[in-house]
Symmetry: C2
Subunit: 364 residues, 2 copies
Amino acid sequence: MKTVTQTLNVALGERSYPIHIGTDVLSRPELVLPFLAQKRVVVVTNTTVAPLYLDEFRSGLEKCGIETLPVVLPDGEQYKTWETLNLIFDALLAARCERNTTLIALGGGVIGDMGGFAAACYQRGMPFIQVPTTLLSQVDSSVGGKTAINHPMGKNMVGAFYQPRLVLADLSTLDTLPDRELKAGLAEVIKYGLIRDPDFFVWLEANLEKLLVRDKSALAYAVHRSCANKAEVVAADERESGERALLNLGHTFGHAIETGLGYGEWLHGEAVAAGTLIAAELSCRLGWIDADSVARIEKIFVRSGLPVKAPDLGAARYLELMSHDKKVQDGKLRLVLLREIGKAVVSDAATTAQMVDAIEARCT
Amino acid sequence: MKTVTQTLNVALGERSYPIHIGTDVLSRPELVLPFLAQKRVVVVTNTTVAPLYLDEFRSGLEKCGIETLPVVLPDGEQYKTWETLNLIFDALLAARCERNTTLIALGGGVIGDMGGFAAACYQRGMPFIQVPTTLLSQVDSSVGGKTAINHPMGKNMVGAFYQPRLVLADLSTLDTLPDRELKAGLAEVIKYGLIRDPDFFVWLEANLEKLLVRDKSALAYAVHRSCANKAEVVAADERESGERALLNLGHTFGHAIETGLGYGEWLHGEAVAAGTLIAAELSCRLGWIDADSVARIEKIFVRSGLPVKAPDLGAARYLELMSHDKKVQDGKLRLVLLREIGKAVVSDAATTAQMVDAIEARCT
């Protein structure tokens, strides 16, 4: 089934860019051409996505006279490292890519984060385009310019704010997405409902099954509404001096899960789901939301097939891992917590003891 | 001898910052304090500079209640690599440095470039201060926000534009600078005269010996005038879309020398000196400057004790190395050349054959 292509704008002054969302945008090179400064692009992708979509994407561009140089990386969060990033630099230099050559990231969040960081750093910055092929990257990581690699001591610790020139979200790529990845993407979709869009949360409660069976109009609606939420937040606070931090609901706990288990064990969205439940639990213990709201949040994650219990790393290990969080200020951990379903705040109100209680209550 | 502290401003809107130039700025913590968001800083330095100036610099800050965490790296261009950069990230994470912790680079160009790039990337950007301790870093690399590490295939190929909040150039640190380093710094000083400040070039011809014997007022004048030139260029073209490229006179050939010989063999300023003579030679062969001008340029570099002949890597190897230059556009190498002493241009006018001739004429 085809859907009409919808276009959103991320309003960032001279760094503004469009997001095109549709079922055939991957094979519409005319959407890309106006953004190219050269008749050559580098396409960074991985071993899973390349056999599925690289040829389709390249051939459209090649027919328009654009030379495409593919860089195929191993697949998985455990490869979001300097070593893998350096494979991109090696390829760019070997092919004599220039400051005006465009780097296109074709893949999920890991490819987008690494491709974007490589583009930010190569010759101190080359043009960059995101072509996200997973639900998670379409609704979240491809929009807003956060790029990074992981460090053994903390997720996304080394990176840059670097905006793409264009985002192409092709919904047809979700047809080949493994179920586990689709569900992981739903965690970030639900997040928008929880932090700032209560009507969307209600819509998700009513339409979750459609998303799970990959109904294209439901997916188109969810991707568009998620991106609209993200674009609004990013336009208001590009470099996370305030509101943007709300997008990290569940992420402080989630990053601790990912780093603590070893990158790649849990998918990012899975860790965010379990982390969101800890945040909800803590918000409840602070008296901000009631137990019914926690149950309602748990229910939508359960229906999405996502984990609602975190791995038992021990509360002390959680605290240790969380101490590297980017929201720590003057030694004090700040968390994204819920005031109600549809309203998140950044707060340092929770004591360490309360955090420990919430973590222990939500660990298996 | 003490000199009065002079202050310049790099006018970059909300990213504007002061450069303080004087003989005691290293021990004046009151210049640093207004820029700190936290009572903690990281001081990145190297094994050569640490025994000379780290204690003096730290103790001033510590007396004001600022905790200082030193990170001491090996010294030399050959360490301007990802591996060394990662030592900074390891230290920042182990000490739980935050997004608001300030990173201070205390050292020469390599420390400034790596410290700045680490600051640009750590948690996607932390505040950064430059305290340059060599002539080269005081007159050039500490100002303007270019940060980078080297790649085996090309110098400064991976980096960021990332402005410091403050630059402290303490002229008394030049007392301990090895002669070879002092001379290397003069290459960049002379550059400003050649590319845009003919009166300064004449002043340098008249006052070079004073600089070589480290006369403080002469050094103060030269550092100030160099920084004033650089600040003007950077304010007009922060990200090198035009005029800023002129600051790279001699650098395309110079970077080829550094990469070709192996990083650390020649000092950056030495490679720039020899590279500038090739650029002058080529400008002469294009009929833009006369042989007398080339001789005049050669003479001031000879008097500075700098190499005026490039190492014989073979012209083909030079061209190969130069093909990675950041000024290459659509496969065409653009060079900074001289229209007269005091006026440089970026040009693709030279043919490959002319480049080969100029290189061969200026190789030992």
